[in-house]
Each structure stands twice: as structure tokens, then as C-alpha cells.
């Protein structure tokens, strides 16, 4: 009989053909509609920022892993590209390319790798970097351009504008509805970060992730649900000051945040109950900042705050072990 080498490995001896890379590629695919929307509304420069974000993030991670962390076997897995793209989608089209680059370095080197790298970071790297840029380069990060809404344009000929949430904060809800309408809000024809404005295209990407089983679906459900609930209550109290529930869901970074940032696998809870608490917390804090905070938008800060609570949430939402009484 022909001889073969007998392999001794640990069970199970079959594994799914799934991988971290496949998950990351799925997330990139899911972000494609929003990236196309960014290009359409804010011009080719938005596409340049998106691609720059992805490529620079991968290069920086490659350098860190191969050179600084001396991991000879490191092969890029796409997680850095996801961070880079998310950060790019989270800046204004007024952001110079080098500012984005600084943000990417901060996201990958500090937020991700200083905490241990893939899977080890407490905070969502793209969000932490966005807040870092917001406090370091407030002018670039809060100058908004009116969408040009046609493919092929650059951005420089566009006029500056205010985001709908800023209008709500400074001038009230009736002024918001004079400057825009629900349809424009849903499709993204408003001022804002390049990737956050089109609620509908973000949602299409999200459906892809749901279909692929790639997402902690309880988080967006409870996040958006709690925003709707809170906004409904406050809307009945003072519609002019607080704005309508639909407006709050469509405006600002809520869809991008709830569908793609809060659901980041690494920085969100592991159990369904924990994910519900996490989503709920995000919704409450977002609305508190939107209503009563100094910033018009609270999505980034609320998710970062909840990121910090994930270890505590995980600890207190452990599932009941089969055959045991309630833990």
C-alpha cells in the first residue's frame, strides 16, 4: 500500500471556508452604494478621498505588522481598508487629502495597533479618528458643501452650506424643512460628511450584510428604534425645537453610524441582549447630544462612549449555560 504522512491536528477536521478577509470584503461591498452616492453628490474628490483612505490604511497596517511588529507572515486581511473607507466617508468633502491621511495614521497606528491590533481595539478606529480630526482640524471638518448631484464634477465649484442638524439646532425645524425635504434627506442630497447623507443607499448596503449574515442586526434595530421613540416623544413636546422622528433618522450620520459603525464586530457586544443594550445606549446618547449638547450631531460620540462600556455589557449579559439555572 502507498504510504502517506499521517497528519495529527485538533478537531474539528472540517472548517467553514469563511475568513476574516471574506467578512471585510463583504463590508467593503456593502459600503459601495454609499461610496457611489458620495461621488455623485460631492464630486470625484469624494471618490479620491475614499480610495486614498483604503489604500493608505492598508499600507500603514502592512508597515506596522511587517516592520514594527515583525510579523513575517502577515497578509493583509482588508480590515484596515474598511477602517480607511469608513473614515473617508466620515469627513467633509472640504477635508484636504493630508488631513485624511493624518486621520488614517491615527486610526490604524494609535486606535488599532497601540491597543493590540485586529480584534483587540476598544474603540472603533474610524470613529475615534474622526473625533480626533474634529478637534484637531475643526475648520476642515465642519465646512460643508452643497451637493452637486451629478457624476463627473469636482467639488470646488460648490457652495458652502450648513447641515440639516445644524440648521435645526440654530434656526429650528421649520427652517430645516424650508431648505430641504424628506426625499432629499433620504437620498442624500444635503450637506454633510460624504458617506453619511444617503440613508437609502446605506440601507441597501446594510441589507447585503444582513443577507450574508455579517452583522449584529440587533444593534441597528435598537439604535434606530430608540432614536425614533425618543424623537417621537420630544416631537410632541416641541416640534419646532426638536424636529420630527423621521428627520432624526434620515439626517446626519445616524444611518451610517447605526448600520456600519455601531455594528463593528470588534467593538460591539457578543450576546444579543448585550447588543440590545448597546444599541439602546447609542440611541439615547445620540439624542441627548443632538438636543442638548454643544455639537449638532452626536452619533460618533455616542458610539465611542458605548464602545467603552462593551466589556461591562459583555460581563453582565452572559447567556444562561445549557442545563444551568439563570446565572
Amino acid at each position: 500500500m502507498k504510504n502517506v504522512k499521517l497528519l495529527i491536528t485538533s478537531a474539528p477536521h472540517v472548517r467553514t471556508q469563511d475568513s476574516t478577509r471574506k467578512i471585510m470584503i463583504d463590508v467593503l461591498i456593502a459600503l459601495t452604494p454609499a461610496t457611489i452616492a458620495a461621488t455623485f453628490f460631492f464630486g470625484l474628490y469624494a471618490l479620491v478621498l475614499s480610495i486614498l483612505g483604503m489604500i493608505s490604511a492598508e499600507l500603514i497596517e502592512f508597515f506596522i505588522m511587517r516592520v514594527l511588529r515583525k510579523d513575517k507572515n502577515f497578509v493583509p486581511n482588508g480590515s484596515a481598508a474598511v477602517t480607511g473607507l469608513l473614515l473617508a466617508l466620515n469627513v467633509s468633502v472640504a477635508t484636504p487629502w493630508w488631513v485624511l491621511l493624518i486621520g488614517v495614521v491615527f486610526a490604524i497606528a494609535i486606535v488599532k495597533h497601540a491597543f493590540g491590533g485586529l480584534g483587540q481595539n476598544i474603540f472603533n478606529p474610524a470613529l475615534a479618528a474622526r473625533v480626533f480630526l474634529l478637534v484637531s482640524f475643526p475648520t476642515f471638518m465642519t465646512t460643508w458643501y452643497k451637493p452637486i448631484a451629478s457624476f463627473g464634477g469636482w467639488y470646488t465649484d460648490a457652495q458652502t452650506t450648513a447641515t440639516p442638524l445644524a440648521i435645526l439646532k440654530l434656526q429650528g425645524f421649520s427652517k430645516v424643512m424650508e431648505s430641504t425635504n424628506y426625499l432629499d434627506l433620504a437620498f442624500g442630497n444635503v450637506g454633510g460628511c460624504i458617506g453619511e447623507t444617503s440613508a437609502i443607499l446605506l440601507f441597501i448596503g446594510f441589507l447585503y450584510l444582513v443577507f450574508r449574515g455579517r452583522i449584529k442586526i440587533v444593534i441597528p434595530a435598537t439604535y434606530i428604534g430608540s432614536v425614533l421613540l425618543i424623537a417621537s416623544i420630544f416631537y410632541t413636546i416641541n416640534p419646532e425645537r426638536f424636529g420630527s422622528p423621521i428627520f432624526h433618522v434620515l439626517a446626519g450620520g445616524l444611518m451610517l453610524g447605526a448600520l456600519f459603525m455601531a455594528t463593528d464586530m470588534v467593538t460591539s457586544p457578543m450576546t444579543l441582549k448585550g447588543q440590545a443594550i448597546f444599541g439602546l445606549g447609542c440611541g439615547v446618547v445620540t439624542m441627548l447630544i443632538r438636543y442638548f449638547g454643544g455639537y449638532p450631531e452626536g452619533v460618533s460620540l455616542s458610539i465611542l462612549l458605548m464602545n467603552a462600556l462593551v466589556p461591562i455589557i459583555d460581563r453582565h449579559t452572559q447567556p444562561r449555560v445549557f442545563g444551568r439555572r439563570k446565572a
Binding site: 500500500m1 502517506v4 499521517l6 485538533s10 478537531a11 477536521h13 493590540g116 449584529k216
Partner: protein
């Protein structure tokens, strides 16, 4: 049809390559190596000497202590060696008797019993004398399991066969329904239970329909969702009866006894035919062997003989292969081909290694959602690797049934089961005696 199931689990490719292959009788091997530890509990004591002639079915090992079992000679021949050999399954050296066959079978049988007239105690004694153990893999002595210390009202026959590749239980259910039913009737009489179920995964629809037709009114056929680990004892009980075996407990704690399909056939043969357990049905399968099939093989037959004579050797094109005792999810890879077949081996699966990339855990939570014991495999793995065994035990280290669903599904290719198995060993050693 309503399919019963449990929470969690995975669905690996079924690869039931041999499901249409009739069980064939393998020729007799020239040599057998019979381990004295072919059962959970204390190993048997060798009662033959080198040079002694033995008949097929003659006792060569006697039980030591209450949880132990008889071992019989699987062939007629001469004892040529009594020595300790390394066993992949046990992880330690185990006493073994080598017998070289001198001719055709000359049987030494037990008395044949009419089970309808003898007492429960006589039946249990006969099953003990025949060396019957759980043939699903755990090899727990059947005479102990059939004498539970708590009241039992339900007998469940495990025909789930949820491991990919393996098909022997499937074939037994299709081809041997009469012997199977007689084994069940005997077991029912011993346990004095009213309710009897047989649980079968829906990918064996032909077996479900066959037994429903043949056994109408005698045994309830429970169709189960095709999902791994549907055949794990606790998950099977939960799916069929809704009862949850308590942590650290046994099925009898919820009034249930679970027996494998093949064990029922062994019980029938022991009681009705007076035949000790010297042979079992097994599946030889996997991409790594030329001929795949279901066979009746004598216990103690070396795996090399099985692969060469029954499997026509290793398939072309492979320089490295895994030869597994059992299926791909929980099977144990053998380090050398001299390893003999044990009573609990329901199959030998020969497959190539899958190459996969590993990354850190990305907290996708897939493992938490598939764990049939509702554990947190990612956390157990983390605590085990940090050597925090007490913390791991507090969140269910010892509740893990090592089914491998978490490791199967993990996109980062984390080896949860490997570190959990090791942590269990270390924890039991460190905390030995202390509860």
C-alpha cells in the same frame, strides 16, 4: 413534517458518500490487537496467556470494578502477545492482546435467551457477559447504563448520525430494522419504560419513512432537523422531550436513557443469539481512500488492514492525510496505522487537511450563537490561554461537549476546542478531588 431540534449548531457539508452502500461482511483479518480498555471506566484484566488457543467469542478480558466490561476474542487463533501499546484514543499506554488467526471461526457462544420469559436481571447479566458498550462512541458499559439509579420513563434511540461522512447507523436502520426493533423491545423491558423514541435527522428521510411504516405503534419516530450536533445526547433529549439535562448531570436525571442504534443491534445479538460483541458495523469513507463503504468488521482489526483490504489503499494524489477514528467533527487522528478498531469506532474517515488562514478573534460572535451548550467559546478560549481556569470553569468550561461547532464556524480560525480540551485536563488535575 415538523422537524425537532435544539438551539445553536452548525451545518457542515454532509458528505454522506456511502449512504447507498449496503453493509458488507469484511473478510477475517489475519491478526487482531484487542485493547483491554474498550469502554469507559476501569480497563479489563487479561485472562489469557501467550501461546494459548482462543475461540471466537471466548473471554480474554474480565471486568475490574463496577464500571468496566468483558472483552472477547474476535477471531479463532493463537495469542501471540500481551503487552501495553500506545493508544491514540486514550492518550496513554493500554494493555492489549494480540491474536493471530489460525482458521475460520469456531464460536464460543453464550446461552441463547428467550427475553420474553427471563428476568430483567438475567438480561442485564447477559448483556454484561457479552461485553456490550455504547457503540455511538462513548463506549459506556451498557449493563451499567441499563440499570439507572433514578426512575426513568423514556428511552431514546439515537439515530441522528449528525457527523458528516458517517452512514453506518443509517444503513443499520434501513437494513436491520427487525434486529433493531428486537433490541429495543429487550431494552424497553429492562428499563420498564413506556415511551420509546428514535431520533433521526431529516437527511435520512428514507430511514424515517421506512421505520415509521415498519414500526407503526411500537416506536415513535422523531424527525430531526439536519444540524450538527443533533446527535449529542443532551441536545437530542432537548429536541425530543424538551427536557434539559442539568449541568454536570446525566440523562437519567431527567428520566431518560439514550442508546445508539448499533448498540440496540448488539443487545439483540447478545441476548437472542448469545453472541458476544466481537464485531461492529462501521463506515470507511473520505476522499483519501479509494473504496468507500459500510462494513461489518471484527474488533481489533488494525486500521492499516482496513484501509488496504477494504478501502483499496489511499487515494492517489495525496502525500499527507488525516486518518480519523470517527467523523470529521469529533474524530481522533491516529498517529500510526497499527491502531486497532475499537468497539466505539463507528467509522474511519480519511481526509486531506484544509489549509486556512488564522487571524485574531474579531468578535464576530458566530461562536456564541452556534454553541449548543449556550457557552461563550471565544471567552473560554481566551481564559484558557491566559490560564485562568477557575474563571473559565465558572462560565461553563466543564459544560463544553467539545462538539467543535465554534471552531468549525470561526472565520478567524481560532482553535477553541483545542484550548478548551487542554484547559479541562489542567483544571481537573489542579482541582482533582475538590468539587
Amino acid at each position: 413534517m415538523k422537524l425537532l431540534t435544539f438551539k445553536g449548531g452548525v451545518h457542515p457539508p454532509e458528505k454522506k458518500l456511502t449512504e447507498h452502500e449496503k453493509i458488507q461482511k469484511a473478510p477475517l483479518p489475519e491478526k487482531v490487537v484487542v485493547l483491554m480498555a474498550q469502554h469507559a471506566g476501569a480497563p479489563a484484566k487479561v485472562v489469557v496467556e501467550v501461546g494459548q488457543q482462543v475461540k471466537t467469542g471466548q473471554v480474554i478480558g474480565e471486568p475490574q470494578g463496577p464500571v468496566s466490561a468483558y472483552v472477547h476474542s474476535p477471531v479463532t487463533g493463537t495469542v501471540t502477545n500481551v503487552a501495553k501499546i500506545n493508544s491514540a484514543v486514550h492518550g496513554i499506554a493500554v494493555e492489549a492482546v494480540t491474536i493471530e488467526r489460525t482458521g475460520e471461526d469456531e464460536w464460543e457462544l453464550l446461552p441463547k435467551l428467550d427475553w420474553t420469559t427471563v428476568t430483567k436481571e438475567e438480561l442485564i447479566e447477559q448483556i454484561k457477559k457479552a461485553g456490550v458498550v455504547g457503540l455511538g462512541g462513548a463506549m459506556f458499559p451498557t449493563h451499567v447504563k441499563l440499570n439507572p439509579s433514578k426512575p426513568v420513563d423514556t428511552l431514546i434511540i439515537n439515530g441522528a448520525e449528525c457527523e458528516p461522512y458517517l452512514t453506518i447507523d443509517h444503513r443499520v436502520m434501513l437494513e436491520m430494522d427487525e434486529e433493531l426493533l428486537e433490541g429495543i423491545e429487550i431494552t424497553k423491558k429492562i428499563l420498564g419504560v413506556k415511551e420509546v423514541y428514535i431520533g433521526i435527522e431529516y437527511n435520512k428521510k428514507d430511514a424515517i419513512e421506512h421505520l415509521e411504516r415498519k414500526w407503526k405503534g411500537k416506536v415513535k419516530v422523531a424527525a430531526l432537523k439536519t444540524k450538527y450536533p443533533q446527535g449529542a445526547e443532551k441536545q437530542l433529549i432537548k429536541a425530543i422531550t424538551g427536557r434539559e439535562v442539568p449541568s454536570g448531570g446525566l440523562p437519567m436525571d431527567v428520566g431518560v436513557v439514550v442508546q445508539n442504534v448499533s448498540t440496540m443491534v448488539a443487545i439483540k445479538q447478545a441476548v437472542v443469539d448469545g453472541r458476544p460483541l466481537v464485531e461492529r458495523g462501521m463506515t470507511l469513507t473520505g476522499e483519501g481512500v479509494n473504496r468507500k463503504g459500510n462494513w461489518w468488521v471484527r474488533i481489533g482489526t488494525p486500521i492499516s488492514w482496513i484501509i488496504e483490504r477494504l478501502g483499496d489503499g489511499f487515494a492517489e494524489g495525496y502525500n499527507e492525510l488525516k486518518v480519523l477514528m470517527g467523523g470529521p467533527m469529533m474524530g481522533i487522528p491516529v498517529p500510526n496505522l497499527d491502531t486497532p478498531l475499537l468497539k466505539g469506532n463507528n467509522g474511519i474517515t480519511v481526509i486531506p487537511e484544509q489549509k486556512r488562514e488564522s487571524t485574531n478573534c474579531i468578535r464576530c460572535s458566530y461562536c456564541v450563537h452556534v454553541c449548543p451548550m449556550n457557552l461563550q467559546p471565544y471567552l473560554l478560549d481566551l481564559l484558557a490561554r491566559k490560564k485562568k481556569y477557575d474563571e473559565a470553569a465558572a462560565i461553563g468550561l466543564l459544560d463544553c461537549i467539545e462538539c467543535g461547532s465554534c471552531t468549525y464556524i470561526c472565520p478567524a480560525n481560532v482553535e477553541h476546542v483545542k484550548s478548551i480540551k487542554l484547559a479541562k485536563k489542567v483544571y481537573r488535575t489542579l482541582r482533582g478531588g475538590k468539587k
